[in-house]
Symmetry: C2
Subunit: 112 residues, 2 copies
């Protein structure tokens, strides 16, 4: 485990991370955006099971935490695209470890 | 980012992981248990802000996912202790990456 395990300072940073990423959707949205900028409708299809209302709310929260940016292009009708920021990309290792752990967990619990 | 980014199979394992760890409390509880087995009251003090009702609910869910085990000792009155399982300990790297990312995030957003 982490050095200084159970130490309040470590817990604080984990708490910060969990607050920014709270819920089951944010990391999945970031994961979908990791392969490139997407429009709302594309995201809504890729993130299985999310409603448009929730997607819209989650995108706003991700924007507020500088994890996603929204670009409006001057076309007719205007095009809106969402992309992952450099700060969002810095979650790469977290996503990677979650992915590997998810595979183990599936074997441990669901595969049985 | 992950190889095969945005690929539905990767998304599935991340979804599995997020379902097992959903909410803001589970990882904090596991983090508190990483330093050794604890009784309910100890946990309730260490995980700042959690109510007894939520702690009890979260511990049951963690037990169901084989991340935490509950031991009842034959003392008078009986002693109940919670500890992290080997499967729970396998979350070490996820916790570590979340910790480092939380530090960056604090600088990026909260520190400004």
């Amino acid at each position: 485990m982490l050095k200084g395990e159970g130490c309040p300072k470590n817990m604080l940073s984990i708490r910060d991370a969990l607050e920014a990423l709270e819920g089951r959707w944010k990391l999945l949205i970031l994961f979908a955006l990791a392969s490139g900028p997407k429009r709302f409708k594309q995201l809504s299809k890729e993130v299985l099971g999310i409603t448009d209302k929730t997607l819209s709310k989650e995108l706003k929260s991700l924007e507020g935490n500088k994890l996603v940016q929204r670009a409006v292009y001057d076309t007719f009708p205007p095009t809106v695209e969402y992309s992952i920021t450099a700060h969002g990309k810095s979650l790469e290792k977290v996503l990677e470890e979650l992915h590997y752990w998810g595979l183990t967990h599936r074997k441990e619990i669901i595969g049985k």
